[in-house]
């Protein structure tokens, strides 16, 4: 065993190699990872799913079950109260390992909803941790727990002590879990995607909390995430991981301003940001993360790399670009002497469109920002834009809450509570809001998958608008031919027992549009249209990756050549690079086929990227409606401002946020009186608690509506469009 590292480091992973043995043979999930965390530092470990991030972080504390895992090589040094300790060697000494867990190093997990024990009170669970490590009497443990709950910002801590998991929202559970993790004052917190399962506004709150606690408890944090935005505003240093290897390590500024490794560049470019040119193609990485066993020899990124060279067959060296910035790439092998990878990287273009629309000079040297105008970027669809394809008026969806023996109705969940929207032909309307706001219900209402409780829905298949609010399902079948729908989860929305030909061809057969071999032919065309091979018709969904399945779902939605598409969170279950591919595909198809689209998502950056107009929804109501860019530059409703501010920007130092929306989304069965947002609104006035503001045109703008009492007085902060000649003064709209 080597000597322990210098004491400045809280964690030092050296050349970690972890394999998993299975019937198919051993695959190396972590392949020579070296990583360290210094005192008081937040280090981000970034990469797509299946890259070995979780295995790495779990190896630190012995949470990887072995077998099947095999720790082939490497050391993990951790600073504990007994000095530097090598934790891999402790695996055989469970007692010693247990003393470290929770006391010297703690961990919070991805799914707060499932990480709190369902049958123990919050208080029991946290005090249990104290009593495990320290000799204190229960009363003191209780007091310390209350104190800790207060520190993580849970309201009324003594009351929380007796509550159970199901009584807390996701954000509150994650706070409780953070309290649980930190109650013994560990020096290192491991955070495994701590905000991925949470809503954007809650994510922003939790990230802020972690940042704040780092200072107050003087600890270090190792944070795993797939979201570059999350680390940009939180981490001091970043390591980018791909297929079990660290591709690049550097300070947050260096990684974002001068990403050296093509994988890092690709990840950054794949993210639709609030600065990107809307409706243009994102620069996406080719292909998908391969199975570990199929990874290329040499550089594991070679098969997706735009700069691939013959030498990439060999394992690339880790090149020190400068102090604290290194990349494992052959591109820099010969520039070791001269710092600054600019010269080497600026040349090869990834052949795509701009995404990091940062106008500052620096950006010029980023290879990815070469702007290549796309043909269809700002194309106006004048011909069609006059006619509406869909109009919904005052539509509502109410669910009764039944209680007791006699199933009496004790309340109503107002999932959708009076929504007016229209979608023009060829237009994409983005519908954005947090989970539980009713946006999915709107999509289901429009397609008549649920019966509206009130209101009118009118839809024009290929001409006049016709009322479809209550037409019988038989007639609706004809209308559905003109509607397609893509769902969030590409796995469960495809029947696992049907092959692709039948999945994609079913709508054709259902509507009598094709029979026999004509189906095969059309399915083949459709598959090729979405970028799959026509020959794959006979395969079953499990043979495809998540992104490919979503392509299949899109092919199915478009099988009957609909003129209208509802896309309900079509990319939120996908990896960043695949997300970009699917967004590109949707944009292309929409323009080729002149589709009207209702695009539903929680991420306003994604919505902004694909939409012409955006409707912001909160607790069953539309609170703001307008041109996509305008809404982002000059929001008129405080909720829109909050949503924009909650998006972690992939640009360090460019934190948007001044004031977070407080607390959680209220119960839709019992929405606040007056303006529904007033409980969380930083600008709330007495009138907001009394009167519900109607959706009214904003100032002089033609096509911009807000539902705020003070929309004409408030000057809310949007996101400046850096590098775009498009001032907020241009309110008035292009449409």
């Amino acid at each position: 065993m080597n000597s322990p590292p210098d004491t400045d480091k809280v964690l030092d992973i050296r050349n970690l190699q972890v394999s998993f043995s299975s019937i198919a043979g051993a695959t190396r999930a972590v392949n020579g990872v070296s990583l360290n965390v210094r005192s008081g530092e937040i280090v981000g470990l970034v990469g797509e799913s299946g890259c070995g991030k979780s295995v790495t972080i779990r190896s630190i504390v012995g949470l990887v079950p072995s077998p099947p895992a095999l720790f082939e090589d490497g050391e993990i040094w951790l600073r504990t109260r007994r000095g530097m300790t090598e934790t891999l060697s402790l695996y055989k000494n469970m007692k010693a390992l247990r003393q470290i867990r929770g006391r010297d190093v703690s961990m919070i997990f991805q799914e707060p909803m499932r990480s709190v024990h369902p049958m123990m009170t919050i208080g029991q669970q946290i005090t249990e941790g104290i009593l495990e490590h320290e000799v204190v009497d229960p009363a003191e443990a209780y007091d310390r727990t209350v104190e800790m709950l207060d520190l993580v910002g849970l309201p009324n801590p003594p009351a929380q002590m007796n509550r159970y998991a199901h009584e807390l929202s996701g954000g509150m559970r994650q706070r409780a879990l953070i309290a649980l993790a930190l109650v013994c004052h560990p020096q290192l917190l491991l955070a495994d995607e701590p905000t991925t399962a949470l809503d954007v506004t809650i994510q922003a709150q939790i990230l802020e909390l972690i940042k704040d606690l780092r200072e107050r408890m003087s600890m270090s944090v190792l944070l795993i995430t797939h979201n570059m935005g999350v680390v940009a505003n939180l981490a001091d240093r970043i390591s980018v991981m791909y297929l079990g290897r660290i591709m690049e390590t550097g300070t947050v500024e260096e990684i974002f301003k001068e990403p050296a490794h093509p994988y890092t560049q690709g990840l950054l470019a794949s993210m639709p940001s609030l600065f990107s040119q809307p409706k243009t193609h994102l620069q996406s990485l080719r292909g998908v993360v391969p199975e570990l066993a199929m990874a290329p020899k040499g550089c594991v990124f070679a098969d997706r790399c735009p700069h691939v060279m013959p030498i990439c067959d060999e394992t690339p060296p880790v090149v020190e670009l400068r102090a604290d910035h290194s990349a494992a790439c052959w591109l820099y092998d010969d520039v070791e002497a001269s710092p600054g990878p600019d010269a080497a990287t600026a040349q090869p273009s990834l052949g795509g469109d701009s995404t990091l629309g940062d106008a500052s000079q620096r950006v010029e040297v980023i290879p990815l920002t070469k702007t290549e105008p796309t043909a269809h970027a700002d194309q106006e669809k004048l011909a069609d834009s006059d006619t509406d394809q869909l109009q919904i008026e005052n539509v509502a969806l109410h669910y009764p809450i039944l209680r007791g023996l006699l199933r009496r109705q004790v309340g109503t969940v107002r999932a959708v509570d009076g929504v007016d929207l229209s979608i023009r032909r060829g237009e994409t309307l983005g519908l954005v809001g947090e989970s539980g706001c009713g946006k999915t219900s709107v999509g289901r209402l429009v397609t008549r998958l649920v019966e509206p409780s009130a209101g009118r829905i009118r839809f024009g298949a290929d001409g006049r608008l016709e009322e479809i609010t209550h037409i019988p399902q038989k007639e609706m079948k004809g209308v559905r031919r003109s509607m397609g729908m893509v769902f969030q989860d590409p796995l469960s929305s495809l029947n696992a027992r049907m092959n692709i030909r039948n999945i994609v061809g079913e709508p054709l057969m259902l509507h009598g549009m094709a029979k026999g071999s004509a189906v095969d032919e059309r399915v083949g065309e459709l598959l090729e249209m979405v970028g799959l091979r026509a020959a794959h018709q006979s395969r079953f969904p499990h043979a495809f990756s998540g992104g490919q399945r979503q392509r299949i779902a899109i092919a199915r939605a478009l099988a009957t050549e609909p003129s209208f598409l509802v896309a309900d969170e079509p990319v939120s279950a996908l990896d960043v690079s695949v997300q970009a591919q699917i967004l590109n595909l949707l944009l292309t198809l929409q323009q080729q086929l002149n589709l009207s689209m209702l695009f539903i998502a929680h991420d306003i950056a994604v919505v902004r990227h694909v939409s012409d107009r955006i409707a912001v929804m909160y607790l069953g109501k539309i609170v703001e409606l307008g041109n996509a860019r305008e809404i982002c530059v000059r929001p008129v409703h405080p909720y829109t401002e909050a949503l924009l501010a909650s998006i972690p920007l992939p640009m360090p130092g460019l934190a948007t946020l001044q004031e977070m929306p407080k607390g959680d989304l209220p119960d839709p069965a019992n929405p606040p009186k007056g303006c529904r947002f007033h409980t969380r609104c930083p600008y709330s006035q007495p009138i907001c608690e009394q009167e519900e503001p109607p959706l009214l045109p904003f100032a002089d703008a033609v096509d911009h509506f807000g539902a705020c009492h003070f929309q004409d007085e408030l000057h809310l902060q949007g996101v400046e469009e850096i590098g775009e000649i498009h001032g907020p003064a241009a309110a008035g709209g292009e449409e």
Partner: protein, 331 residues
């Protein structure tokens, strides 16, 4: 919590009334009644037709068999509520007298079987999950599969065969040694019963024990994969605390809620075994009553068994609510 208990209680009463009605109707359903059976019996015995007529008429008047079924049901239900189980027409004795000892023995054996099942199955299933794919796990998974697949009467027959051929036993069947069968209850009789009863527990409980092992193992595996177990591990808890304090209480949930359902299974399962091993349980009596269209006896047995089942379910629900805060919360 109070409303929850009240809710369950009212449900219990509704179920009882419905079961009483349904069981009465079902028993009444086949063509003919006890009088038909009686007439045939007497005819076979070459009794004088006039005597037959008068006997039948006497029974008809006595039991109100001429009245419509609704009237008869009301009469029966009312007296049942007063604690009068009615009169077995077949045996010419009060139903309660016939059921008496058999019923208490049946309930006793059922509860003992449940306890036996719990005590054996839960630890085995738990350990199988904790030591997944170990030799322990493999052998018990195999045994459990065997236990689930073999019907209990086969086990009973095999047991009979083995004890006669291998052990040379002469009295293998029954709950008591011959000298105690008709004896009054005494300490010696109780001890004698304990010597016999474990075999019955084993035979009756084998299938349920085996299936509970499988359920427990699967549930425990699921629970151990839950993220909150990782949270518990990361607190530095020992294995025992994780398994017992955190995992067991979640994993055992469906087993507790199934107790109420196991109860009738045990009773009907034990019927076949009781016939094979000639045990004085309630099952054979019920079968007999049903075959002989002995309406009041059959209905009374059914109702009493249902009552036991419903109370068992009620207790299981209470145990579950005590164990799981989410259930308390929902009410």
């Amino acid at each position: 919590m109070k409303t929850y208990i009240l809710q369950r209680f009212i449900q219990m009463i509704i179920v009882m009334v419905v079961v009483m009605l349904v069981s009465f109707i079902i028993v009444e359903l086949p063509p003919g009644d006890f009088l038909t059976t009686l007439r045939e019996q007497l005819t076979e015995q070459n009794v004088d037709p006039k005597v037959i007529d008068s006997t039948v008429e006497m029974y008809r008047a006595r039991y109100g068999l001429g009245e419509n079924w609704f009237f008869r049901f009301g009469k029966w239900a009312w007296s049942l509520m007063k604690g009068d189980m009615g009169y077995s027409m077949q045996h010419n004795r009060p139903a309660s007298e016939l059921m008496g000892e058999r019923l208490s023995l049946t309930i006793w054996i059922s509860i003992a079987t449940l306890v036996f099942m719990f005590v054996i199955a839960v630890p085995i299933g738990m350990l199988s999950a904790i030591k997944q794919y170990s030799a322990w796990d493999h052998s018990f998974t195999f045994l459990a599969l065997l236990g689930v697949s073999v019907p209990s009467f086969i086990t009973a027959l095999v047991f009979l065969l083995l004890s006669v051929t291998l052990l040379g036993a002469t009295t293998v069947a029954g709950l008591f040694s011959p000298e105690y069968v008709t004896a009054e209850w005494s300490w010696a009789k109780f001890v004698d019963m304990l010597k016999h009863v474990w075999i019955i527990l084993f035979i009756v409980g084998l299938g349920d024990t085996a299936s509970t092992i499988r359920v427990m193992r699967a549930r425990m595996l699921d629970t151990l994969g839950e993220p909150y177990i990782d949270t518990a591990r990361m607190k530095g808890l020992s294995g025992a605390k994780i398994y017992f304090r955190h995992a067991l209480r979640v994993a055992i949930n469906p087993i507790i809620s199934s107790i109420g359902l196991r109860f009738p299974q045990i009773i009907s399962g034990s019927t076949i075994v009781a016939i094979v091993l000639t045990l004085p349980l309630i099952g054979p009596l019920l079968l007999d009553a049903l075959l002989g269209e002995d309406v009041y006896l059959a209905c009374s047995i059914l109702v009493v068994l249902t009552l036991a089942l419903v109370i068992g379910n009620f207790l299981a629900d209470l145990a579950l609510a005590w164990l799981d805060p989410r259930i308390r919360f929902e009410s």
